[in-house]
């Protein structure tokens, strides 16, 4: 399956245009008919998911879908969908659909709902475009189209805290996009093209090439929450409404890592990177990201802040995987995109239920909460086990592959970083699960007279959580691990084996 062939297809264009048009339609419809808008948004996200899935037959045959539209200067817009783009686009469309479903109940009676839905769908267009882009300019445009509207989701509560977080997010995003812009133009200057899918456009090492590489590292590092550029993330993700946090932490920050992956293997190329050793910059930063993100997460007692720092730590694993540059590391890396996206969005959705139903954010007050919200907390536990890397869930597979990749790359020391990540994950996730189910003293204090009543969330909120929790386990347990197979193919494609 090492050889690929191109298939002209309008599917990627339609998949991106649908939410783009849908967002505008949702806003206009929502001015009059709120209910219609809600279901329209669900339909649009479900439609995007269906369109992504419709690409599968071609992808499975080893094809690469390409589409090109000469509308935008200077280079026109193009889409190019290979296995990697397909996998991530499908996963993100699925998570978007579930988050929209979840929002139906979660956002009922909130202010600014119309704006919220329109921007939720708009950011889907941005992230789908990012994953399906066929050249850097398209990637850049959709990257912006996702990042800037996301500020509206961050600011949704309109509290002072939210405004401050959103401004911080906005300025760092713009700063990042300037670095991206510089590096993109420099790439164009080197190669006269910014097309993705090659074996490397930047011919040889030079100071400018190094600056270009660093520009990309900064640009995508900001989005991916790489230490020390992560400062916006722990502020911005917790203040957003929970379904939006799930998307921000689950999918949108992955676009940063995704961009880095594409840039490293398709703009710079494996040979150049091996020869110059530039990825060691990323190696060092990713280890710092893993350790710092996880260690700070231990000190956070606000549930959503802890989850946000945990995202930083997980992004460290992903960045580490891509800079190891071995096949198994890449397989684990791509699989970890999937595993973390599913698990982290599940966790954020659970957090939303907990906050909505109990009004608590501080995890020290979570004693006995598992008895009131059994299904939610069970899903929370599954997702948490996934991120810790307990077998047989997804996280175990990806961390195993990543560690094996570290050995393949001749750098076994980095497996220790992954191990540390797992241990720290255990330190900050497991106590939540344990107190939720086994703390017998707390519920009496919390609910009075030891009364334990069941207060599980509305089915449309619960269903997405359950589906995501199943997603953490089903593939790992079944004999045919579909995402893992796709990840292997994607890794081989990136390495051109």
């Amino acid at each position: 399956m090492s050889s690929t062939f191109e298939i002209a297809s309008c599917l990627p264009v339609v998949a991106v245009m649908l939410p783009l048009v849908g967002a505008a339609a949702a806003y206009l419809v929502g001015l009059r008919w709120g209910l219609l808008r809600n279901w329209l948004c669900c339909a649009v996200t479900a439609g995007s998911l269906a369109l992504c899935l419709a690409m599968y037959p071609d992808i499975a045959r080893g094809g690469v879908l390409v589409a090109r539209a000469a509308v935008l200067l200077p280079l026109g817009i193009s889409f190019r969908v290979d296995v990697l783009g397909f996998l991530l686009a499908t996963v993100s469309a699925a998570i978007w659909f579930l988050a929209t479903l979840y929002s139906l109940e979660y956002m009922r009676g909130e202010h600014g709902v119309n704006r919220y839905y329109a921007f939720l769908v708009l950011t889907l267009a941005g992230s789908l475009g990012t994953f399906l882009a066929g050249d850097l300019l398209t990637l850049f445009i959709f990257f912006e189209l996702m990042s800037l509207p996301a500020a509206v989701l961050v600011i949704h509560e309109e509290t002072q805290e939210a405004v401050r977080a959103a401004l911080k997010y906005l300025f760092m995003t713009i700063g990042g996009s300037l670095f991206f812009f510089f590096s993109m133009v420099a790439t164009y200057q080197f190669a006269g093209s910014v097309a993705l899918g090659g074996r490397g456009l930047v011919g040889e090492a030079s100071t400018l090439a190094f600056l270009t590489f660093m520009g990309f590292v900064v640009a995508f590092g900001i989005k991916a929450g790489m230490v020390p550029l992560h400062v916006w993330l722990p502020d911005a993700h917790p203040v957003a409404p929970s379904p939006a946090s799930a998307l921000l932490s689950g999918v949108m920050i992955k676009t940063g890592a995704y961009g880095m992956l594409r840039v490293m293997y398709e703009i710079f190329g494996l040979d150049l990177l091996r020869q110059t050793g530039w990825p060691s910059v990323l190696l060092g930063l990713s280890v710092a990201t893993i350790l710092l993100g996880s260690m700070v997460a231990v000190t956070q007692f606000d549930l959503k802040r802890r989850l946000a720092y945990s995202s930083v730590g997980q992004m460290g694993c992903i960045l580490l995987g891509m800079s190891l540059m071995s096949e198994r590391a890449l397989t684990g890396d791509v699989f970890h995109f999937f595993a973390d996206a599913v698990a982290k969005s599940c966790l954020f959705l659970c957090a939303g239920v907990i906050m909505k139903e109990t009004g608590k954010r501080d995890i020290r007050q979570f004693g006995g909460i598992g008895h009131r919200l059994p299904i939610t907390m069970a899903c929370f536990a599954i997702a948490a086990f996934t991120l810790v890397g307990i077998p047989p869930f997804n996280g175990f597979i990806s961390k195993l592959q990543l560690s094996l990749g570290a050995f393949d790359a001749g750098m076994p020391g980095y497996a220790l970083a992954l191990l540390a990540s797992s241990m720290l994950n255990a330190v900050y996730y497991l106590p939540i699960v344990i107190t939720a189910f086994f703390d017998r003293a707390a519920p009496a204090a919390a609910n009075g007279a030891g009364r334990r009543r069941l207060a599980e969330a509305h089915p449309t909120m619960l269903a997405p959580i359950v589906v995501l929790a199943l997603g953490c386990a089903v593939f790992a347990l079944s004999s045919e691990n579909w995402p893992l197979r796709l990840s292997e193919t994607a890794a081989r494609l990136l390495l051109r084996r």
């Binding site: 445009i141 509206v152 600011i155 700063g175 300037l178 600056l211």
Partner: protein
């Protein structure tokens, strides 16, 4: 059809004289002005269609060929700028039709329309002039009428701003005229092409005179276009005029000096010769300083119009920076930015005018929470802010792309930092306003009702729409300007 090039100047000039004669009643004056601007737009669009294929139109006034007569020439650059400028003018006139009634007394109104048309004549004259002296005369017409427009409001700060502008533009005018005289002395020519042809010989005999002439002309036109550090008059002048006039002053009038210098650099003084002087480096340095310091000043402003005026200093620096790179791609980007900034800044000034007339406040705090009561205005402002920062799908992105590419192409990767810093700084002073407009709490309860007269709102929306369209389909202007850049650089 043959007379189109001269009609570009003659129509508004005639209008300017007819308004005081026929249009004593304000609404009749307005209709006359509107008609003139529409005619100019039609002429300019016709010229653009004719020059679109790359040819230039020459017109000899009174059928006297150049060494004796005056030549008016419309090339692709002139036609395109004239078209976009006339479009901006049309939007501003539509807007001013309502706003001037509120801002000026009935007696001052027809003077206002007359001056506006006179200014348009000056602008088009500069765009089409082919000899140095006419360039000077039309620059002076434009400057004088611009001053008069500022002082048309009978208020102390307007008078002062006008006086400051007038004195500095008299200095600039004197410098330019002396420069023209020096050039004429050593070459005996005034026509730009003939001057260009005669200069190499003159450069041998009178190198220092030429240098002095160049210095005088550059400082004169740079003063008129507010290149840092010669920008001191601009914030006062642009912020104290009525809003529609600020739109024209900031959007169009500062561009005249730039256009004149473009003609000088690339037609008269051979740019290959300029490279041997430190001039391009100096202009680049001033542009860069203007970008950074202008942005810092803009950040410190609490007055919306002053902030926009400082932003103009930044953008002028940006354009000069692109010109001084002397690179085909950067030049295309800089010329594109002349168009983009004309559209953007006039749109932003009109937005602010709406906000001021609605809230009665000029401070940046007036923006808080406005999005609910003025959705279209704030949306247009957002488009403008995004384009100033250079976000994709806006026209600002297109010029930024070309500028950065040109900077790299000319082998100065470090200079890219200037452009990127400029974008970041623009974000720092525009985006907090946008965020507070959407999410801030209004300081005082807002008035109910529509956001303004439709005749004031729709021009703003129209300008914003053109900015977006140019961001998505910039092929036509880019193709034309790319051709212009190649011709100018002799490639």
């Amino acid at each position: 059809m043959r007379h189109l090039p001269i009609l570009l100047t003659v129509v508004p000039l005639t209008g300017a004289f007819l308004v005081p004669v026929l249009g004593r009643r304000p609404d009749r004056a307005y209709r006359l002005a509107l008609l003139s601007v529409l005619l100019v737009l039609a002429c300019a669009a016709g010229l653009l269609a004719m020059t679109g294929s790359g040819q230039t139109l020459q017109y000899y006034v009174g059928d006297w060929p150049p060494p004796w007569g005056i030549e008016v020439r419309v090339d692709a650059l002139g036609a395109m700028l004239a078209t976009f400028f006339a479009f901006v003018y049309l939007m501003v006139v539509l807007y001013a039709g309502s706003s001037v009634r509120a801002e000026l007394g009935p007696a001052a109104q027809f003077w206002y329309w007359s001056l506006l048309l006179l200014l348009l004549a000056g602008i088009n004259g500069v765009l089409t002039a082919r000899d140095l002296f006419n360039l000077f005369v039309f620059t002076e017409i434009a400057s004088l009428s611009a001053c008069a427009i500022i002082s048309v409001r009978d208020r102390l700060d307007s008078m002062e701003a006008a006086l400051k502008y007038l004195i500095l533009s008299a200095v600039a005018g004197g410098c330019i005229l002396l420069g023209v005289a020096l050039l004429y002395m050593v070459t005996g020519q005034l026509h730009l092409d003939h001057l260009g042809a005669a200069l190499p010989a003159a450069a041998g005999s009178y190198p220092r005179v030429l240098l002095a002439a160049l210095a005088l002309l550059v400082s004169g036109f740079a003063l008129k276009s507010a290149l840092f550090p010669l920008h001191v008059w601009l914030p006062d002048a642009h912020s104290s005029a009525p809003s529609p006039s600020s739109a024209i002053l900031s959007g169009l009038v500062v561009k005249l000096g730039i256009v004149a210098l473009v003609r000088l650099f690339f037609v008269v003084f051979d740019w290959r010769r300029l490279v041997t002087l430190p001039l391009p480096t100096m202009v680049m340095a001033m542009g860069a300083l203007g970008i950074v310091l202008g942005a810092l000043f803009a950040m410190g402003q609490r007055d919306l119009k002053r902030m926009l005026a400082y932003s103009t200093v930044v953008q002028v620096g940006y354009i000069y920076f692109g010109l001084a790179l002397l690179d085909e791609i950067a030049l295309t980007g800089a010329l594109m930015h002349v168009v983009n900034h004309a559209l953007l800044k006039s749109m932003l000034f009109l937005c602010v005018g709406l906000i001021i007339s609605r809230t009665g406040e000029r401070s940046t705090a007036a923006m808080a929470g406005l999005a609910r009561s003025m959705p279209l205005t704030v949306a247009s402002f957002t488009v403008g802010a995004a384009a100033m920062v250079g976000i994709p799908l806006t026209n600002g992105f297109v010029s930024k792309w070309y500028m950065v590419l040109g900077t790299l192409n000319s082998g100065r990767p470090a200079m890219v930092a200037v452009i990127l810093v400029s974008s970041l700084l623009s974000a720092l002073y525009y985006f907090p306003l946008v965020v507070s407009a959407y999410f801030g709490r209004p300081a005082s309860p807002q008035a109910e009702g529509p956001e303004g007269p439709p005749a004031m709102v729709w021009p703003v929306v129209g300008l914003a729409a053109v900015c977006l369209v140019l961001g998505i389909w910039p092929e036509l202007p880019l193709r034309l300007l790319g051709g212009v850049a190649r011709v100018m650089l002799g490639l």
